[in-house]
Amino acid sequence: MTFALALHIALAGMMLGLAAWTIAARETFAAVVGFVVYGLFLALVWVRLDALDVALAEAAIGGGLNGLLLLGAAARLRAAEAPADAERPGASLRLLAALLSATVAAALAAAVLLLPEPAPTLAPAAAANAAATGLANPVTNVLMAFRAMDTMLEKVVLLLAVVGVWSIAPDHFWGGRPGVRHQADPQGTLAFLARVLTPFGIVVGIYLSWTGASHPGGAFQGATILAAMWLLIMMAGLADTPPMNARRLRLMLIAGPAVFLLVGLGGLAFGAAFLAYPAAYAKPLILAIEAAMVLTVAITLGLLVAGPPERSAAP
């Protein structure tokens, strides 16, 4: 048995064990921690599969930001946990749920295992047409050019998610600021970390977005890091969460989908089809869309974690 094989088996075993532990954990908090660790291990799995772009996204979103969202949810649910635990569903219902989950897992596994050899792939076609955009990273090519429509709709979904979070605000706080105002010692440890780490984080976030054109990375991964820096500043109490009726904030929220849509309509007006980039301007257009997307995704993710408005806009 080679070393790599042993490593893969150990990794797969850890994943299965962590997944089982996360499901079996009684406390919501413990389950969330299990899920975060699961996300980080999943990122390692993607690295072993040579899918570095996916690994970066999984580590940033699955391990980091999703974990933060779920931790926030767990903290809010803490008061309701004991009564909810008391009315656990009966054994037969839980058995049924387990059976349903196991069936879905088995069907997925069968679908993967029954793929013809070699599995159907469009990777050679994507690689053969890489020159059309002038970008060296094939993943960015697929996301921003070959399947740009999907990426654009994904950004619209993110916007809808923010609308969904905002819509659960009570009427009298509509237009107000999300979450509580974090109070932390301005000379304390957290404020120190926020001051020292944020410049590095901004550089890394922008670098990751920029280098996505030719190396693993991209707008989404970079934007997640920028969002994390913004959240760190808000949690350290160095800056307040913005009121949701601020015009600049709303403009930044729609910047990504708007630029995407404009470029798409431009393709319809001057080019062959919706989102068809003229060959000479493909790279600058894609970079412009990515720049707007980084801003929008960072703001969106930050606002999703910050939550619905819970106080009036006055500081």
């Binding site: 440890t189 957290l190 120190f192 970390l193 020292v196 780490l197 590095f200």
Partner: protein
Amino acid sequence: MALDIVTIVAVSAGAFFFLAGTVGLLRFPDTLTRLHALTKADNLGVGLVALGLLPRAGSLSGGLKLICVWLLVLLASATVSQLIARAARDSGPLP
């Protein structure tokens, strides 16, 4: 050859500190001692692994990135252990 030995020794020592830190995390009786064990894994473990990988970095920028990773882990783990220790102190009497 000499560089290979540096890598093997330093990464093994780093792995040992991770192991010791994990054992401490599982076996120590209270929050503060567990934190103490954890920071050993973070500081010395990551530091030694980064040191061991330096000869294999291949380029100056690659080596600098490794050192940056180590410094950022130091910053994060030192801050987080401070915050956890403070939360543990505020939430209950020290054992």
